[in-house]
Symmetry: C2
Subunit: 772 residues, 2 copies
C-alpha cells in the first residue's frame, strides 16, 4: 500500500503522490528532534518546527522563528529568537493525555508532503484504560497568508463514547537552547496574555534588548462530521506566560470530531498594530474556512514548484532528496522582505543564531539568482542595508571601506564573539571574526553574480556598485606591502579551512581579494564611461577619490597570489607541514585522519577541514587551466576530511569539472542526504542550508554544466550520471521562464515569456531557446 | 541490612532508627504522586510536596502551600494557592539530565524520617553513555526557621571524571490542579524575577484577587569534600516566570561533591518587607551552615515529639502509622498563627481548597487541645476571627447569630459553591452549603471542649462565650415551630451522611443544635453569676437580650429529638426507607452495597455514607445509656459503607465503647493506614487530616479510654487490644506535662511541672498524678 493510501480519504484528498512524501514510519522518541527539523514547515515569513502539537513528548524543541526577530540578552550574540509556540493543542480523555508518548501507539505514520507543503499524520492511540482513539492531523503554514498557520486534528473514539478535553495553547515560556542549560536564554518578555476577543488566545511579547513586539494568537473550535461547531465549556485561562483556552467535546463511538486551530503571528516589523491585524487574519481564515485556505496555500506552493522543481528521471532517492532540499530553501527565503538574510540552519533551527555567513552568498545565492531572482535581490539588499554597519566594522578593525561581519544578524554588527563559552564551561578565545575576512569578498562576488545573471540594472546602479566599491576599499586597505619582495600580502588571515588559523597569504582569500579589487575597478570604469551620472552620484556618496580604482588595480597586480599553474599552495608554508594522504574511510565513506598524523597538532599538518584551493577553483575556475584544476582537486581531496558540511557539494562540482564523475556522485549523495540521513548527526539542530543549496548547484551547475560565459551568455555543458535518464529544471531568466530538459544525448530549452528568444551556448555551440 | 544502614555514613548521621523511617524501596513512576503526599514536609508555616528536586519526572505535582495564602481567580472557590516551587535543583551531565526518570536507576531508596522531619534518598544513576553516578540527598523544612528549607544533594561519579551542570530554580509557573486541565488555575501573578543579591534567585508573586505578595528565594552553592565552594560559571538567568541560576562543577572519579540549596518564603502576612527578610534568612543559614541548621531543626522536632509521641509496645506497624499520622498533623498545625485553619488535606495537597470543614473541629481539635493547647486555641481563634463573616452568612440565609460556612478559607465567606462543574463538564447544583448546617454546632462544640480541657479562662471570656452565644442564636433562629405537634423541628437539613439530602430532623443535627442551645444558656448563666462584668461586656457587644438564653432553653426543650433510648432514627422517615443489611465485603474489607438495594436510589434506601447516629453518640454519648449506644452502633454499622474517610475512626471508638474491640481494631487499621496503604486510592491528592487525627483519638480516647468527666476530672478507662503490651502518651494539661503509661493491667500518670498533683479518675477511682 502506498504511503498516501494509508491515510483516510479526508487526508488522501490533501496529499500528493508518494514521490513527494517523506515519511516517518514509526515513532521513535530518540529520533523526534531530527524529525522536528526535517518536517519543519516554513513559509518565507516564519518557520515552525514539527513538534507534535499534542505535547507530552520528552525530547522536543518547540520553536517558531520569525524572520528578523533577533535578540541578545544573556546570549553572547544576537540570536534568531524562539517566539511563542502557537502550535500546541493538548488533548485529554478525562485528564489522561493523548499524545505519541502517552499510552500505546500503533499504526503511526507521519509524512512531510513536499509538493503541498504540509505535514500529515495518523496513529492509533490506546490509553491506560484501554480506550482506543484514531488520531489524524494535518498542519501547514500558509503560503497565501504568510502570517497564518492551520492545524486540524481528527479524533475518532473506536471502542467507546469519549469525552475529550482540549487545550488550545499559545505558549510564551519558550527559550532558545531549551535543552542546553548552559546556553539557554529567554529572549522575549511577555507583555500580554489575554483572550483574543470573545474567544481565542493572544500573547504579546517583546524582545528584551530592543523592544521589538511579537504578537501570537490562535483560535480553535471543534467541528462534528457535518462541520457544525460542537465544543462546550469554552474557558480562557491565563497561566502566567501561557494563554490557554479550554474546551471539551463528546464523541460517540465511531464518530469523528475535528479540532481546527488557526494561528497567526505579527511582529513590529510588519508595520501594523499587532492584535487587530492578527485578529483580522484569523477572522478571515475562519470566515473563508479551512478548505479554502488550504487551496489558496497549495496553489501558491504549486506556483513555486512550477519554477523550483528539478526532475531527475531514473534516480528516485536523489529526486526526493533534491526536492526535500529545495522545499526547505523555499520555506526560508523571503520573497518580500529585503532586510532579512537566511541563516545557516534556515528557519528550522537556532544553531548559529540564525545568522548569515558567507555560505548564504556563495552557496544559496545562485539557486535564487537563477530561479527566484527577487529573492536573490532581497538577499543582496539585506547586505546592502547593513553597509553602514560593515563600514563601522572596518573602521573598528582599522580598515577602510566595508568589512562584512563573519556572522550577521539584523543590525549588521559582528555577532561572532571574541570569547565564547564552550560546552564544558571553559572560555574560548574565538579568532574567527578577527582573522576570517573572506566573507566580504563573498558579498561582492554574489552581488556581481546576481547582476551578471539577472542584468538587474536598477540594483546594480543603486546598490551593487556601492557594495563592490566599498568591499574593494576594504581589501585595498587590508593588504600589507612588503618591501622585501615588493608585493602585497594578506597576513594573519584564515580561509574557509579553519584548522589553519591564522596563516599568511591564504590562496582562497588572496584570490578573492584580487578578484574583488580588479572587478570593482573594472565595473567602476565601465560605469564611469557608460553611465556618468550614476558614477558621479556614487563618487559623491562614498567620497570616492578619482585615483582609488586605479590604486585597487595597482595593488591587485602586486598582490601575492602564489602559483597560477600547477600545484597551488593553500597558504605560505602549507607545503612544509607534516604531510600524509588519506587512505582510510569509515563506514559512512567519511575520510579518516592518517594514522601517521594523529599526534601532529592540526595547525602543523596538511589535513584540512575543507579545501580552500578547491573552493577557490570552484568560484574562479575560469582563471585556471583544466590540468591545474584537476591536479589541485586530486591533491587536496586526499588531504580533506570534509568536516564542514559545505565541503562535499563543492567537491561534487569540482569532481564533475575535473572528470571524476563517480566520486562526484558520492559527494552529491553526502550533500543531498545530509539531513534525510542525518549523516552529520546534527539534523536535530536544523536543516543544513548550504548543503541543500549546493545540492541544487551540483545538479544544475555541476551535472547540468550550466553557467554564464565570459560574454554573459548562458551556457551548458551537461554531464549526466549514467543512471539519470533525464534532468529537467527551470529558470526565471531576465523576465522569461526557461524550461531546461537534458537527457544523456540532448538538451532542449523552452522559453515562456519574452518576445525574443534567449541565446545560450551548449557544449560550445550557440543556440536559441524555443519560444513556447 | 536496616534501612538506615543502606545510606552512606553522611546520611546515617542524620537519620533516626528504622522504627521512625517510612520507606519507598523502589521507584515506580505510577506511585510517585502518592509518595509526593506521603513524604510531604511541612513545618507549621508551609508544606512542600516530596517532588524529586532533579525534575524530569512525568507524574508530578510540585507544590508549596503556605498557610493563609488563598486566591480564587477562575476557580469556583478560594483555594490554598500553589506558590512558587523553590525545591527544584536540576542536574545534568553535559546536558543529559540526571533524575529518577532519565537514564537507568538502581539501588533506589527514599525514606521519610518521622523523628527528625526530613526526607533522604539515594540511588545509582547510569546515563545513556554508561556514566554511573551515586546520588544522595536530604531535604528538610526547618522547624527552627519556619520560613526556610534546606536541601543537600551529593553526587559521586563512579566510573569517570564528571562535569555536572546545575540549575538552581525557583519556578513560578506553578498552578493549582496542574494535571487537571478543566480545573487548572494559576493563582499567582509574577511581579519580579531577579537575582537575590549578587547571587541567588528571587521570585516575587502576588495573589491575583487580593494582591497578597509572596516572596520565594534560594541560594545554592557546591562544596567539595573539604567544604570549600567549587561551583564555576555561576550565571543568573530569568526565564519568564522561572528564576534560574546556572553553575557547573567538575568532579573526579570517586570524588563526592555536595550541592547545597537554601530556600526561603515570606508572604505579605508576615509583616516584613519580603526580599530583605528573605535575604537575611538565607544569609543566616549560609553563615551558620547546614549542620547547625539541621541541628536546630532536629532539636525543635524532638521537642514536639517529646509531647506528641504515642508509644505502642507490641504493635510495630500501628506504631509507625500512628507516628506517620501525628507527624503530618504537627506539620500542618500553626503554633503561632491564629488566623489560619487546617485544611482537609493538611498542607499536603490542594484537594478541598485547603479549606477548614467541621472535621477540623471534631477530629483534629482534641489532639491539639490535649497535647498542644496553643494550637487548639489558634484553631478556635481562627473561627472567632471569622465570626463577622459567619454573622453575615447567617443574615444572607435569613438566620440570626453566626452560621459558619461549610467550607472556610481566609475570609470566612462560604466557599462551597452553589454550582460546580463536574469532571465530565456538566454543571452540578451543589446543595451542601445550603442544607448542611452542623458545622456551626461543631465550632461551638470544639470551643467548649477546648475550654473544658484547658480551662483557658482568657479565651473563654474573650472569644469562647461569644462563639457559643452566636452559634446558639443561629440554631434558635434555624428551628421551625410546628403547631401540629407543638414542637420545633429542623427541616430541610443534611447531616454528615450526605446520601440523604435534605431530610427533616436529622438526629445528629438536632441533637447538636440542642446541645448548643442548652450549653450556651448554661454557660451564659454561669458567667452572669460568676463574672458579671464579663457578661455585661458580652451582652453589650453582641446586643444580647436578657430573655434570649431562656428562649434558647425553651426552644431546645421543645426541639424534636426522636428516641432517647432504643433505636434512634437518623431522620424522620429513615426507618421507612428500603432496608437491607450489609453482608459482603470486598478484598479490602470494605462493605459492599447489598444486592437487593442496588437499583434503589441513594435517597430511598437505608444505606449510609457514614452513620450520623453513631457520630452523634460519639460526641454526646453521655446523654445515652450503654445499651442504646450498643444497639444503635450495631444497627447502623450494618448499613454504613464508610465512603467517607471520617467514618472508620468514629466506628473504632464507638466499637470500643460498645465492647466490639476486635471490629474496633479493624476500623483503627482502616483509619491509621489510609495514606500509608493508599486504601482510598487518593493519597496522591494529599494526606487525610481527619483520619490522621481520629487515629490519635482512637488510640488515646478510645483504647486509652481518656476523657473529661462531667465534673471536669480527667478520666481513663483503658481497654488495650491484647497485642498491645503498653501504651504511652503525653498531654500538656493545664500547664503541666502528664506522661501516661498504660499496660494491660496498670495505668500510671507522671506529672512534670505544677506544684500540686493533677487529680484524675481511672476506671472510676480518683487518683493523683505522680510528681516527677
Amino acid at each position: 500500500m502506498s504511503l498516501r493510501e494509508q491515510f483516510s480519504p479526508r487526508l488522501q484528498a490533501l496529499l500528493a503522490r508518494d514521490e513527494w512524501l517523506v515519511a516517518e514510519e514509526e515513532y521513535d522518541p530518540a529520533q523526534n528532534l531530527a524529525y522536528e527539523s526535517r518536517f519543519c514547515l516554513a513559509n518565507g515569513y516564519m518557520g515552525s518546527r514539527a513538534v507534535h502539537e499534542e505535547g507530552f513528548v520528552k525530547n522536543t524543541l518547540p520553536a517558531c522563528y520569525v524572520h528578523g526577530v533577533f535578540d541578545r540578552s544573556e546570549a553572547f550574540q544576537r540570536e534568531l529568537c524562539n517566539t511563542p509556540d502557537w502550535a500546541k493543542l493538548k488533548i485529554y480523555q478525562e485528564r489522561e493525555p493523548l499524545s505519541p508518548e502517552s499510552g500505546r501507539i500503533a499504526e503511526y505514520l507521519r509524512v512531510l508532503d513536499l509538493k503541498n507543503g504540509l505535514v500529515a499524520k495518523r496513529y492509533l492511540h490506546t490509553d491506560s484504560r484501554g480506550r482506543r482513539t484514531r488520531v489524524e492531523s494535518v498542519k501547514l503554514l500558509s503560503r497565501a497568508m504568510p502570517h497564518c498557520a492551520l492545524l486540524r486534528v481528527w479524533l475518532t473514539p473506536l471502542n467507546a463514547d469519549a469525552l475529550f478535553e482540549i487545550e488550545d495553547i499559545v505558549d510564551a515560556t519558550v527559550t532558545n537552547f531549551m535543552d542546553f542549560p548552559r546556553f539557554r536564554v529567554k529572549h522575549l518578555q511577555v507583555e500580554k496574555i489575554e483572550c483574543l476577543g470573545a474567544e481565542g488566545c493572544y500573547v504579546e511579547t517583546k524582545t528584551r534588548d530592543r523592544d521589538l513586539p511579537v504578537g501570537t494568537g490562535s483560535f480553535t473550535r471543534v467541528l462534528n462530521e457535518k462541520g457544525v461547531p460542537v465544543q462546550r465549556n469554552r474557558a480562557f485561562r491565563p497561566y502566567g506566560e501561557i494563554a490557554c483556552e479550554f474546551m471539551d467535546v463528546r464523541a460517540e463511538q465511531g464518530e469523528t470530531i475535528c479540532i481546527e486551530k488557526f494561528s497567526a503571528v505579527y511582529t513590529g516589523r510588519d508595520g501594523k498594530p499587532l492584535k487587530p491585524a492578527l485578529a483580522q487574519a484569523l477572522a478571515e481564515l475562519s470566515h473563508h474556512g479551512f478548505e479554502a485556505a488550504v487551496q489558496a496555500h497549495v496553489e501558491k506552493q504549486a506556483a513555486l514548484w512550477s519554477l523550483a522543481d528539478v526532475q531527475l528521471t531514473g534516480d528516485e532517492k536523489m529526486q526526493k532528496a533534491l526536492r526535500f532540499d529545495l522545499f526547505h530553501l523555499l520555506g526560508a527565503a523571503s520573497f518580500t522582505d529585503d532586510r532579512v538574510g537566511i541563516g545557516a540552519k534556515l528557519l528550522h533551527g537556532e544553531e548559529y543564531g540564525g545568522h548569515s555567513f558567507w555560505d548564504t552568498e556563495l552557496f544559496l545565492h545562485p539557486f535564487f539568482d537563477y530561479v527566484f531572482p527577487q529573492v536573490g535581490r532581497n538577499l543582496a539588499n539585506y547586505r546592502y542595508h547593513l553597509l553602514d554597519a560593515a563600514r563601522r566594522n572596518a573602521r573598528r578593525n582599522s580598515h577602510q571601506g566595508a568589512q562584512f561581519p563573519w556572522e550577521s544578524a539584523d543590525t549588521g554588527e559582528e555577532e561572532c564573539p571574541q570569547w565564547t563559552i564552550e560546552p564544558d564551561g571553559s572560555c574560548y578565545r574565538c579568532h574567527v571574526a578577527e582573522y576570517e575576512h573572506h566573507v566580504t569578498a563573498a558579498v561582492a562576488y554574489s552581488a556581481v553574480q546576481y547582476y551578471r545573471i539577472t542584468q538587474d540594472q536598477d540594483f546594480w546602479e543603486r546598490q551593487g556598485l556601492e557594495l563592490l566599491a566599498e568591499t574593494a576599499r576594504f581589501w585595498a586597505s587590508r593588504l600589507q606591502y612588503d618591501a622585501a619582495d615588493g608585493a602585497y600580502h594578506i597576513r594573519q588571515v584564515t580561509g574557509p579551512d579553519e584548522w589553519h588559523e591564522p596563516v599568511d597569504d591564504n590562496a582562497y582569500t588572496n584570490r578573492l581579494a584580487h578578484w574583488n579589487l580588479v572587478t570593482a575597478a573594472g565595473y567602476l570604469a565601465e560605469c564611469r564611461a557608460a553611465r556618468p551620472e550614476v558614477y558621479a552620484r556614487l563618487r559623491q556618496k562614498i567620497r570616492l577619490k578619482a585615483e582609488e580604482p586605479e590604486e585597487w588595480k595597482r595593488r591587485a597586480a602586486s598582490l601575492y597570489l602564489g602559483a597560477s599553474q600547477g600545484l597551488i599552495e593553500q597558504f605560505q608554508g602549507y607545503f612544509a607541514l607534516a604531510d600524509g594522504e588519506i587512505t582510510q574511510w569509515d563506514q559512512n565513506k567519511m575520510p579518516l585522519l592518517p594514522e601517521t598524523l594523529r599526534l601532529v597538532p592540526k595547525q602543523q599538518r596538511c589535513i584540512l577541514k575543507q579545501a580552500d584551493v578547491v573552493m577557490m577553483l570552484f568560484l574562479l575556475g575560469q582563471e585556471f587551466d583544466p590540468e591545474t584544476q584537476r591536479l589541485n582537486f586530486d591533491y587536496y581531496e586526499k588531504r580533506t576530511l570534509h568536516r564542514s558540511s559545505l565541503s562535499p557539494g563543492v567537491h561534487c562540482i569540482m569532481g564533475i569539472r575535473t572528470g571524476e564523475s563517480a566520486r562526484a556522485y558520492e559527494y552529491l549523495e553526502r550533500s543531498a542526504y545530509v539531513d534525510l540521513d542525518d549523516n552529520q548527526g546534527n539534523t536535530r539542530e536544523g536543516i543544513h542550508a548550504a548543503s541543500a543549496a549546493i545540492t541544487w548547484q551540483s545538479v544544475v551547475l555541476g551535472y547540468g554544466g550550466m553557467g554564464l560565459g565570459k560574454d554573459g551568455l548562458l551556457e551548458f555543458a551537461p554531464q549526466l550520471p549514467d543512471r539519470w535518464e533525464k534532468l529537467q529544471f527551470s529558470l526565471q531568466y531576465r523576465g522569461r521562464v526557461l524550461r531546461v530538459c537534458i537527457t544523456q544525448n540532448e538538451l532542449s530549452l523552452m522559453q515562456e515569456g519574452g518576445v525574443t528568444p534567449v541565446a545560450y551556448r551548449c557544449n560550445g555551440t550557440v543556440r536559441q531557446a524555443i519560444l513556447s
